[in-house]
Amino acid sequence: MVLAIGIGDFSIDPVSLTEGSKSARIDGRRLRSERTKQLIIEAYLSLLRERPVVPMPTAAQIAERAGYSVRSVFERFPDLSKLRLAAADYALAQAAALAPPRNVEGNRLTRIKSQVETRAGTCERGVALWRVLLFSVAEDEQLRSRVELSRKRTIERLEIMYRPELSTLPETERTYTLIALEAITDHESWARMREQHGLSFEAACGVWIDAIDRLLPPTPPPA
């Protein structure tokens, strides 16, 4: 519907004004929809953290936590596996945003401590979702790709943080060292320290710091 709007001496194109309003309304709706989506994802993740033994809360539980209707959940996610995938993407993005490399130019101990604290934070936040992803990865190719991306990023971070030490190793030894570092700083390794061995966050970080210091070759003198 075209509204002819005339305001005093101004000549306003009624069509572009209408289109502009429509566009603003659509953008607004889209933004609200995206926010709802995010709230649903966050509700799912918070339910997982509370009850990590349940791989998939029900749509009703997720909707209630998010403060929306079940219909709202399924309007945005055709099924719960799509929600799980979206949660994986969200967690990956969050990890990247919250865990940039720090103190990359620091001395050996500074870099180890920095990397460990960052990694520990990621694991502390993400172990519940990680378990869900691993449980479902065999039957969901898209989830598998997220798991692989997450591992790839972990390896890249290790390469960045320990470049001086790793650069002193022949290729095969370097690969083996990276793989061992990834194994000991895995989500489950963290979870075991916290859940099975009852270590505090700081004590668990201490275990990793000590282990990484042993695994890495000596730091070469600065050039």
């Binding site: 033994v53 349940v54 791989p55 691993l134 449980f135 065999a138 692989e148 591992r151 030894e173 690969t175 083996y176 060292t177 793989i179 061992a180 990834e182 194994a183 000991i184 895995d186 489950e188 390794s189 075991r192 320290m193 099975q196 061995h197 201490g206 275990v207 990793w208 000590d210 282990a211 042993r214 695994l215």
Partner: protein, 219 residues
């Protein structure tokens, strides 16, 4: 005085009792065998379907019995899971390998060989157990016990080195050694990093050698 007829009757009675006892023993034995077949069927299917767990119908089919037979012996799938894990534990944790004359490299080699073989064989079942322990205190307890068994073996194999450090450091090292040689760590080396079994074992040997403190000189 006992008559011949009485003696015969008593003889007949004891034979009848012996016959009944034999029948009961036979039934009991058959029942135990069926129970064992059900457990083995569950373990086979859990490994094949990991991390999903089989249904009673699938288990019965594999075991060659009825679903009713399954539930006569196990009130629910959970109690079958627990029994199956108890059976598998004796197989998953073999006795510790010989200490190979206490030579550091020989011990590392032996322990890595033994552990990698275990991981290779039991990975699917292990994944199934981890994924399905859920809120079951019994299954979680079994998982904890299995992990502790692995830690105990590491402690035995590397006693010379671990004995040189304070208790707190010893525990930290054992925690890391267990994480390094976890079943999923083994799987990752092959599935994600594409290592052969030999390369994966070499990775573990290198890491363990670096993690362990120096071996004390033999007196």
């Amino acid at each position: 005085m006992v008559s011949g007829q009485d003696r015969q009757h008593r003889g007949d009675d004891s034979m009848a009792r012996a016959g009944r006892a034999a029948k009961i023993d036979g039934r009991h034995l058959r029942s135990l065998r069926t129970r064992q077949r059900i457990i083995e069927a569950y373990l086979e299917l859990a490994a094949e379907m990991s991390p999903r767990i089989p249904t009673a119908a699938q288990i019965a089919d594999r075991a060659g019995c009825s679903a009713r037979s399954v539930f006569e012996r196990f009130p629910d799938i959970h109690s079958l899971q627990v029994a199956a894990v108890d059976h598998a534990v004796t197989l998953i944790i073999p006795p510790p390998p010989r200490r190979e004359g206490d030579d550091r490299q020989a011990r590392i080699h032996a322990q890595v060989e033994s552990r990698s073989r275990s991981c290779q064989i039991w990975l699917p079942l292990w994944r199934s157990l981890i994924a399905n322990q859920g809120e079951s205190a019994e299954l979680r307890q079994r998982v904890t016990r299995l992990r502790q068994g692995i830690i105990d073996r590491l402690s035995t194999m590397y006693e010379p080195e671990l004995s040189t450090v304070p208790e707190a450091e010893r525990l930290r090292l054992l925690i890391i050694l267990e994480a390094l040689t976890d079943s999923e760590s083994w799987a990752r080396m092959q599935e994600f990093f594409g290592l052969s079994s030999d390369e994966a074992r070499a990775t573990w040997r290198q890491a363990i050698d670096r993690l362990l403190p120096p071996t004390p000189a033999t007196p």
